[in-house]
Symmetry: C2
Subunit: 638 residues, 2 copies
């Protein structure tokens, strides 16, 4: 069996390490993986059963389906993402329940596959619209892309089985239908590309990679019909290698970009890789939230213009966080640059960790950075029609996020570390073990002990006894000014980036990275208009926030002004920042008589206002204590 | 003939004055009315002919229509709004071309009316969906509401004719279909209510007013099916008399509210009137832009939460400006309160005047207060599929705004003044004449001479010779601190509000109001997060803005910081404000290495940066000199 991981490029400066090489034992992420396994996977299957999304497959098989089929055209993909999550989970832990669910679901899906490999519950059967009659909105190829990613997980953790075989038949069908000289179509929602590219790698089917390349090359030439939101919505406005920045629907843009990295790497297409790197740079600098969240607009679930980053209407779809990690991980594997794994850390702690509730049975779809009015406590049995609302929902009408979180958590080990030609690189810190066999046959291994991010101490214990020197490389996050490394009895300051120790290690030796996780104030670029006059507080990789439930009077949240010149404090109760309240009553009544645009500067905070301390908590934990209003960006006292 | 104006309540503290009583001669608005008459009216008819929206009526008449009919279901309403504009124009000036167009269009519309009064080109004919099969989205009653408003204009300026008769038949049909004991439906887009109420007044048909009341009372009880945007989108979430604030789709909310005022006044329903007044208060204080614009969200063209007022994504649909004026004018007529006519002035100068291009052949649909990237110069022959883009477009796929502007400009005289029991009130200042007959038979008249808003001097020359004393009341806008009134050889300071002079006037006497229109700095309420750390500059009723075309280097617009402590200056070249440039290059490159969230405060403006003066222009004139980036809210130098 090959390396059990989602992305396995043919070449690159570093090589990923799969589930057989890396394991997580408890801690921040281990706990979340356990909840994912124990609750979320079954939760997703139950909901899809309840809503008839699973029965859609049975109805195709039985010849009883029609246009009345429940669910959106992309509901099939949720089944496939759940299958992917189950495959990783089974591969990660050997969980027999996951294994049983894979077989159960695969059997139902397999019955719905047409003789020629076509597989879809919304088109092409009975009175439904014909196959591929709505490439803009039909999501048929999108669905299959997720099926292929599930098959990649399965073949790499288990080997060929029914799931893999049906994905293979689907991929063959796609190549026959949309291959060279055939219909020159593309899907309105990218995903088939990344699915085909990886399935091609996993099965050694070069044709699939080539088909992915074809789909990529067709995009950006007005191949799809125009829609009211414009062709940028599905990135059919500009060829991918000519684009300067990510735009349009964020998940679409990012799935497409992930595939572009795959194809660039497989084809040695450095021009394409360079284009994607430049798009990443500009988009991350100008169109990304402090949380790592992407997508500034509700209207099209899309990126905004440069610097358009409103905290209150931040969309920051959970799935865009998943997709951003897919892109950055591929770029890291292609370049070895730690800036990509820096962004992955930020996104993991502040988008992925934010979505699920502690019990793994409710989720945020959108992840705004400011909630003005507390959300409504949602009912467990209720499908949320909308992506917003300020509380986590058990399920959504469009329910892409729960299964996306599930597959990410179930494969999280794959994003922790990588092997270089000369050793190991550790990028995400969790209680874990990491092993690798280097190209020259050396076997190296470490155990990571850490309470990160609660504490900043990361102890890397060598667990192998190679006589020859090798390189242990640890990522020092960009925010970690003042970090130190202790090894061989010596402590030294280390700069952000990849700190490397090259020598012969003996088993039991410890290399200790000390990351300064104390709360710190962060200032926004002044070009981000929406948060002018505010600061955020971060602690290690976590963005913090203030919540109304922690204030004496709930309405006080939007009257807070904080002192940016005194450092946030931390004690056993958590982080605190010095703040006072703006005299709310005085502001509009004085001058404006109900009009909010005033002839004189409203008092920022009366001299009489007393300073006090406001507790701040990790953003990912917001709204866990019931509906609450919340702010990441805190106005400063001038 | 009755008073030739759009709203004529049975009772109220003041009475409107129609086209026979008020005339505008040149000036800011006279010029725009002339362009509207000379260009916009024909422009609208041409586009509707070109796109087949007019032929839709012919196809119904000829029995050749079907589901393939071009245009949205609400395209009929554009024809009716154009008819309304033409009716006002004909009534205002007797323009034979307008009169001919009315007859031409009415004849085509009339042929499409079914025997029973039903009139719609999208439903109920041939293979089209059945009548009223989609009350949520079908807009059938909405369309008829606009037809009724057109008929109101016609009957009050001309008398009963074919247009009035066909509206009457349509109204009778609506009452039969949706009356007491019949189908308890409502329309997803309010408008029928305001149309029925006024047509009832205009034709003395009490049943129509009662039907409007019924529609209003049915709303807010989940009468319509739920939709993904939620029932608040079409105000079917809360009964209108229980609502605290405007929410959902702005134009829908405002048309509905206008009807609620009409019904409250007709029925003496002070509870309903009070509810609407409270909704106005909170919505204007917390959900309204400095321009008077309403609608903070693109997603649903809707209001946001309290204080959610992003300048860049401000929707501020032109039609919402029209609808806001409809509401405020009705509330003024119901209460006599000048705060309503204050808001009308603001909306006229900063929303209505902003939409049309100087040639009257292109329009803004959305009216954002910040444009980061210059729009694309649009092609005259092009239909803009979208409401955004930073340049005015000749026509839109959803083209509600051009005809809405047209009908407002063609009836603008009706919003200038009103009669009280004891005299005249002048609310909007334009070169004009205003006459009224008071209840006791006194005839009073004035001529207003002014270069407003270019200059702040308003000379009101008495044009009647009543021996008995009467009251001349002039609105002093809320912004006009320092205004003076000169009359009888005496000058005195006057406060914002309604300044009254009661005495016997002789013809030729002049009362002079001096309004301080010099540029002034305006501060936002600190609860408006999106413009924290910024000020705006206003001049008289006009909001000003900075445009990139006026800066030495276009990219400089978003690097401006202005000095809020020195007064804006004004010379022959216009208003100027003291500003310097933030050193752009230094901000992100220094600390963040491409990441925009920084450990240290970025320099707001280096000490080396030189102060200079930035020209400011009226917001309504932006993007008239080609694509440009633009800001209303200017960051301040701290």
């Amino acid at each position: 069996m090959t390396e059990a991981c989602p992305v396995l490029p043919q070449r690159g400066p570093v090589r990923p390490l799969g589930l057989a090489r890396v394991s997580i034992a408890g801690g921040f992420w281990g706990g979340r993986q356990a909840v994912n396994a124990a609750a979320t996977l079954a939760h997703c299957e139950e909901w899809m059963e309840r809503l008839g999304w699973l029965a859609n497959f049975d109805r195709v098989a039985d010849g009883t389906t029609g246009p009345d089929r429940p669910g959106w055209p992309f509901s099939d993909s949720e089944v496939y993402k759940l299958l992917e999550a189950l495959a990783w989970e089974s591969g990660r832990t050997g969980d027999p329940e996951a294994e049983a669910a894979i077989k159960r679901l695969t059997a139902r899906v397999a019955r719905a596959q047409d003789q020629d490999g076509y597989l879809n519950t919304c088109f092409g059967h009975g009175e439904q619209a014909p196959r591929y009659s709505d490439l803009e909105g039909g999501h048929e190829l999108y669905n299959l892309g997720h099926l292929m990613q599930a098959a990649v997980a399965r073949v790499r953790t288990h080997g060929e089985d029914d799931l893999v075989r049906l994905a293979r038949r689907a991929a063959d069908h796609v190549c026959r239908t949309f291959g060279p000289g055939e219909r020159a179509g593309i899907c309105g929602h990218p995903e088939i590309e990344v699915g085909l590219a990886e399935l091609g790698r996993a099965l050694g089917e070069e044709r699939y990679v080539e088909q992915a390349r074809l789909f990529l090359d067709r995009r950006g030439h007005g191949t799809l019909r125009d829609i009211p939101l414009g062709r940028a919505y599905f990135q059919d406005d500009v060829p991918i290698r000519e684009a300067a920045v990510w735009r349009g629907h964020a998940v679409r843009a990012l799935y497409l970009t992930a595939a572009a990295v795959d194809v660039a790497v497989e084809r040695g297409d450095d021009e394409l890789l360079g284009a994607v790197e430049r798009q990443w740079e500009r988009s991350v600098a100008r169109r990304t939230y402090i949380t790592g969240g992407m997508g500034s607009r509700h209207q099209d679930e899309g990126f905004g213009e440069d610097w358009e980053l409103p905290p209150d209407r931040a969309y920051c779809e959970t799935c865009a966080g998943v997709a951003s990690i897919m892109v950055s991980w591929r770029l890291y594997l292609a370049t070895g640059d730690v800036r990509y794994t820096d962004l992955i850390e930020r996104t993991l702690y502040n988008v992925i960790a934010t979505s699920p509730s502690p019990d793994g049975r409710a989720f945020f779809y959108a992840n705004p950075l400011h909630q003005r009015a507390p959300g409504r406590a949602s009912d467990d049995g209720e499908v949320s029609p909308r992506a917003e609302g300020g509380t986590r929902a058990a399920w959504f009408d469009v329910s892409c996020c729960p299964t996306n979180v599930a597959r990410t958590l179930a494969s999280l080990e794959c994003y922790l570390a990588a092997a270089s030609d000369d050793g190991l690189q550790i990028h995400q810190y969790a209680p874990s073990t990491v092993r690798a066999e280097l190209p020259d046959g050396r076997r190296v291994a470490v155990e990571v002990e850490t309470g990160y991010p609660e504490t900043g101490t990361v102890r890397v214990r060598i667990a192998s006894d190679e006589a020859a020197p090798w390189t242990l490389a640890l990522r020092v996050p960009a925010w970690a000014a003042g970090a130190t490394l202790t090894e061989g009895g010596r402590t030294r300051p280390v700069d952000p980036g990849l700190v490397e120790v090259r020598r012969a290690f003996r088993a039991g030796e410890v290399v200790t990275l000390e990351l300064p996780v104390r709360p710190r104030i962060t200032w926004p670029d002044p070009r981000i208009d929406a948060v002018r006059g505010c600061v955020a507080v971060e602690r290690g990789p976590e963005v913090l926030c203030a919540e109304s439930v922690d204030l004496p009077h709930p309405g006080g949240l939007d009257a807070l002004v904080i002192d940016p010149h005194s450092d946030p404090r931390e004690d056993s109760g958590g982080a605190r920042v010095r703040a006072r309240l703006r005299p709310r009553a005085g502001t509009t009544a004085d001058v404006g008589d109900g009009w909010s645009y005033l002839a004189a500067r409203p008092d920022a905070a009366g001299d009489a206002a007393e300073w006090f301390e406001v507790p701040l908590r990790p953003y990912h934990s917001w709204a866990q204590r019931g509906p609450s209003s919340m702010r990441v960006w805190l106005p400063i006292h001038e």
